[in-house]
């Protein structure tokens, strides 16, 4: 067995410290911001009708970035399904075979406390997730956070009551179709709203009073769609891991 000489260690540490030091040395003292930022943020919030400025940026001004982010997430789910799932027929000779779980999927909650807590908490977590998605443009939240919280609620049930019980209610192929339909819906919606409004400035459905629920124009729709997409994708990833390993 070859011994890695200490040269790599020394080199790595030296180079890493060099980079960190250079960055520290060159960071500017004063930062942009202050008065300029407030003006731009005011204009942004007034145009989109959402009082959460970060949400107006994520799903409004920089919607293009968010579209591709959603795609990154979907491709990740696709990749996990490709590697751990039933396979796409893409495996040629010499491929690493997918091995199914040798241990039967079982619920690990033997105790009553865990089971009842799960029953109690699951509706609360789901409501929290839906609240984050729906009110994302008014208070901190948004589509991504809401979707993840929803998925964690289902994960809670899967951990305490057994994943099989949850997966019996969802068929894999149906989930996949819903997920990609959501992605297609987001793409089409974005394309249509850009084409209709002729790009910059005003929202498609005219923005109303900032701070109200219905005042955000298109932002709420995007938040909901993204929440659905992230929820389904996270659940699929978790479910595939569970199936592959046998239990959580």
């Amino acid at each position: 067995m070859t011994r890695r000489p200490k040269l790599t260690t020394i080199l790595a540490v030296a180079l890493a410290c060099g980079i960190g030091g250079l960055l520290l040395w060159s960071l500017p003292e004063a930062s942009q911001g202050g008065a300029v930022a407030v003006e731009r943020v005011r204009e942004l919030v007034a145009s989109t009708g959402a009082s959460n400025a970060v949400c107006s940026i994520v799903v409004g001004a920089r919607l293009l970035d968010t579209l591709f982010e959603v795609l990154v997430f979907s491709v990740a789910v696709l990749g996990v399904r490709l590697t751990l799932g039933r396979g796409d027929g893409g495996a040629k000779e010499g491929a690493i075979a997918w091995s199914s779980a040798s241990i039967a999927v079982s619920g690990i909650a033997e105790s009553d406390v865990v089971r009842r807590s799960a029953y109690l908490l699951f509706p609360l977590v789901s409501i929290l997730g839906i609240y984050l998605a729906v009110f994302g443009h008014v208070s901190p939240g948004g589509g991504f956070g809401g979707g993840v919280v929803l998925a964690s609620g289902f994960l809670l049930v899967a951990v305490s009551l057994g994943a099989e019980r949850v997966s019996r209610r969802f068929r894999e192929s149906v989930l996949e179709r819903i997920e990609w339909s959501t992605v297609a819906a987001i793409l089409v919606f974005a394309g249509v709203s850009w084409a209709v409004q002729g790009l910059p400035r005003s929202g498609w459905i005219s923005p109303g009073e900032p701070g109200t629920l219905a005042g955000s124009g298109t932002l709420m729709t995007y938040n909901l769609l993204i929440a659905v997409k992230v929820f389904l994708g996270s659940w699929v990833i978790v479910h595939l891991f569970v199936e592959h390993r046998g239990e959580i």
């Binding site: 890493a16 960190g20 960071l27 940026i57 997430f73 491709v75 690493i96």
Partner: protein, 118 residues
Amino acid sequence: MPSTGVIVAMVLLVIGIGTLVIRRDLVFKLLALGLVNSSTILLLLSLDSKRSATAPIVPPSVMENVVDPLPQALVLAAIVINFAILALALVFVMVLAERYHTTDAARIERSVEKETIR
């Protein structure tokens, strides 16, 4: 004097890059990559921090002295992307570990090279 967040971010960066090279276990390399990504995110967030500034989540009429919201939106995107990368990398490490019965990067590399020599 840069703010605390920036200093912590740089320390994390150095630790992350160092660990990425030094530790041979693939899982540790993934953790180190996560650390590097976290340090980048921390840097983005702490660039515009001023003590008296507030979050930009108020109606425009009462808004003054808010932090710049754009880096926070960038951070959201970066978090999602990092999550996707770590998930996929973990899946591949799992598959490789099951095949070669080790998570040591050097051993896996050598086994793969041996397999491809005709």
